[in-house]
């Protein structure tokens, strides 16, 4: 590889980055592709495929990665270039939202881990995090369709070449955006979490608030679980998790049974979450009505005690 000659292999960061490049090339994924620039191995381009069964399905989202000179002791930075309705473009993605707190970044993670995490976080609720967007599903789907038409124009001709190469590869791997957006039978757990948080202000009268909160917290851990699996064997990832079905992260063929086992119990949790959300919605409606009634002075009719 041409890049090898130009860099000081004594530099541990360079050595590590070259190993990651090699590893990426020998274990290609259908869900993402990432390449360093010829002229600067600390600058990468990437594209991820929108996760299946979400409004991002079929979308091809390009972005840049910048690796710090202290890599892998310091985390990489990510920035998206393709409009997607979830993350702002040309703005660094705040890693804190992905549980990748920069102070807890660890050298056992990699660009691959971070990309898998990024895919997993696309369908989660932004909860107002910096650099996050909360577009409607239809808008996101429009953007997903548009994302396939052409690769984003960015940077030097050399960089553009890398972007285009990645785009071609991803087009060959990613099936088109589905005709009809499936009725979202399973609502996004992240959204429920947001609801639960919102309703805390409304009142604690409903028991379901607390239980939904607990569920929400658990849901928030799922993408983190996906991250674990990324460096292990992602083929075993439960389909219901936020990660697309075929994250071929399989670096090691060895199963990590004991680390995966406890996470395969999602289905009942999901059902529980759905009921919790229904309960929550009822509680909110009730509270809002109560408030309206109160403010309009007709409360005595409905609620004698107040």
């Amino acid at each position: 590889m041409a890049t090898t000659d130009k860099y000081n292999l004594k530099n541990p960061a360079v050595k590590r980055i070259l190993m990651e490049v090699k590893e990426m090339q020998s274990n290609p994924s259908e869900d993402f592709m990432s390449l360093p620039l010829e002229e600067n191995i600390f600058e990468w381009q990437f594209a991820i495929r929108g996760p299946q069964d979400t409004e991002f399905e079929g979308g091809i989202y390009h972005g840049r990665i910048q690796l710090p000179s202290e890599y892998p002791f310091k985390p990489p930075s990510f920035m998206l270039l393709t409009p997607n309705g979830r993350f702002e473009t040309q703005t660094k993605i705040c890693l804190s939202i992905s549980n990748h707190h920069p102070e807890h970044w660890q050298p056992s993670w990699s660009v691959r881990t971070a990309l898998v995490a990024l895919i997993a976080f696309m369908p989660t609720a932004p909860n107002g995090a910096l650099g996050s967007l909360d577009y409607k599903k239809e808008e996101r789907r429009e953007l997903a369709i548009k994302s396939r038409e052409a690769s984003p124009k960015f940077g030097t001709p050399d960089r553009q070449k890398v972007i285009d190469e990645i785009h071609e590869y991803m087009l060959s791997k990613a099936p088109p955006v589905p005709e009809n957006l499936k009725q979202a039978s399973e609502e996004n757990p992240g959204e429920k979490e947001a609801e639960a948080e919102g309703s805390e202000n409304a009142g604690r009268s409903a028991n379901s608030v607390d239980s939904a909160n607990a569920g929400g917290e658990r849901a928030a851990e799922e993408p983190q679980a996906a991250v674990d699996n990324a460096n292990a064997n992602a083929n075993a990832v439960d389909q219901r998790e936020a990660v697309p079905r075929q994250v071929r992260a399989g670096i090691s063929n060895q199963q990590v049974q004991q680390r995966l086992a406890p996470r395969n119990q999602r289905p009942s949790d999901d059902r529980f979450l759905t009921w919790a959300a229904v309960g929550l919605a009822v509680a909110i409606v009730f509270l809002v009505l109560k408030k309206l009634v109160k403010s309009s002075g007709y409360d005595a009719i409905f609620l004698r005690e107040s």
Binding site: P12, K15, R16, M19, E20, K22, E23, L37, E39, N40, F42, E43, Q66, P72, F73, K74, P75, S77, M79, Q90, T91, K92, C94, L95, S96, H101, P102, E103, H104, W105, Q106, P107, S108, W109, S110, R112, L130, G131, F154, G155, T156, R159, D228, N231, A232, N233, I251, S252, Q254, Q255, V256, Q258, R259
Partner: protein
């Protein structure tokens, strides 16, 4: 902002960068590096050998119990070597103490023994699902240091060079990270054994504990880390405690605890284990102690 522009001018690749610097991740990291810089001004990763009187001088106007204890330490120990208080002090102390011991004794049998243990740890990490490339560099760098302290090859290093290397971030941090991988692998491998300790310590699962308190750089070490590292490498460690506790009987004594690898202690050889790594623990910090 001016600084940012300057950077993008000087670096064509970053010219298109725009807003890399504006996020709260960067604020957090800036604060972290500011704290580290402050520590770095005070002491290098590894200090010089100092007489115990230097330790006593620190407490001149302080607690009389501590001064009493330092007097007792003075009977058994000749010197102290400080390490930087950046959360990695246990691992840095362990690294230097161990390599210094090998350098001084030229114990090749011990080198072979520890290498075999390192290989075991490599397999452990692989079986836990760690990708090779994430730990390979760190293993390589430690094994290189281990070989270099053995004299008689072109790559052999002197004691001074060992000190120098231990102060060089690109070596010291890599060895620290190597130990963190070893520690995390051992804890995960024997999760059932470590679980109750970890639950008692900070109410976390083994996985959470490894992720938040073992693998990230700068996270302080506790007895769990020491047990795991000592067991995994088969290296006994003595920790001498210097704190304000005193005996009920009025007499002052200095406690120590020997962390003896399970492989050695269960051997039933009846031999008294004499750890050649001795660390001085003061709440929140480890330094190296030299016995007389």
């Amino acid at each position: 902002m001016a600084k940012q522009q300057e950077e993008s001018n000087s670096n064509p690749a970053a010219a298109a960068a725009g807003d890399w610097e504006n996020f709260r991740d960067d604020d957090i990291m800036l604060q972290h590096s500011a704290i580290r810089a402050e520590q770095a001004d005070k002491i290098p990763f590894l200090g010089d050998k100092e007489p115990l009187s230097a330790l006593a001088a620190e407490y001149q106007s302080g607690s009389s119990i501590l001064l009493e204890k330092i007097k007792i330490l003075d009977e058994k120990y000749s010197a102290i070597r400080r390490t930087r208080g950046d959360g990695n002090c246990f691992f840095r102390s362990f690294m230097f103490s161990y390599l210094e011991h090998i350098l001084e004794t030229q114990d090749k049998a011990e080198v072979d023994r520890v290498k075999a243990n390192v290989e075991e740890c490599r397999k452990t990490l692989q079986s836990l699902g760690y990708a090779d490339f994430t730990f390979e560099d760190f293993f390589g760098l430690f094994l290189e240091q281990l070989e270099n302290v053995i004299q008689g090859t072109d790559a052999s290093i002197s004691h001074d060079e060992l000190v120098e290397r231990s102060r060089d971030q690109s070596i010291s941090d890599y060895v620290v990270m190597f130990f963190r991988f070893i520690t995390s692998g051992e804890i995960r491998k024997r999760a059932e054994f470590f679980e109750p300790f970890i639950l008692g310590l900070n109410n976390a699962t083994v996985d959470q504990f490894c992720k938040s308190s073992v693998e990230p750089m700068g996270e302080e070490s506790d007895h769990v880390h020491i047990i795991a590292l000592s067991d995994a490498l088969g290296v006994p460690v003595r920790v001498v405690y210097l704190d304000r506790s005193s005996c009920d009987t009025g007499g002052v004594s200095v406690n120590h605890h020997d962390f003896v690898p399970s492989a050695l202690s269960s051997g039933g050889s009846g031999l008294e284990i004499n750890p050649y790594i001795t660390l001085l623990y003061r709440p929140g910090h480890y330094d190296i102690l030299y016995p007389k």
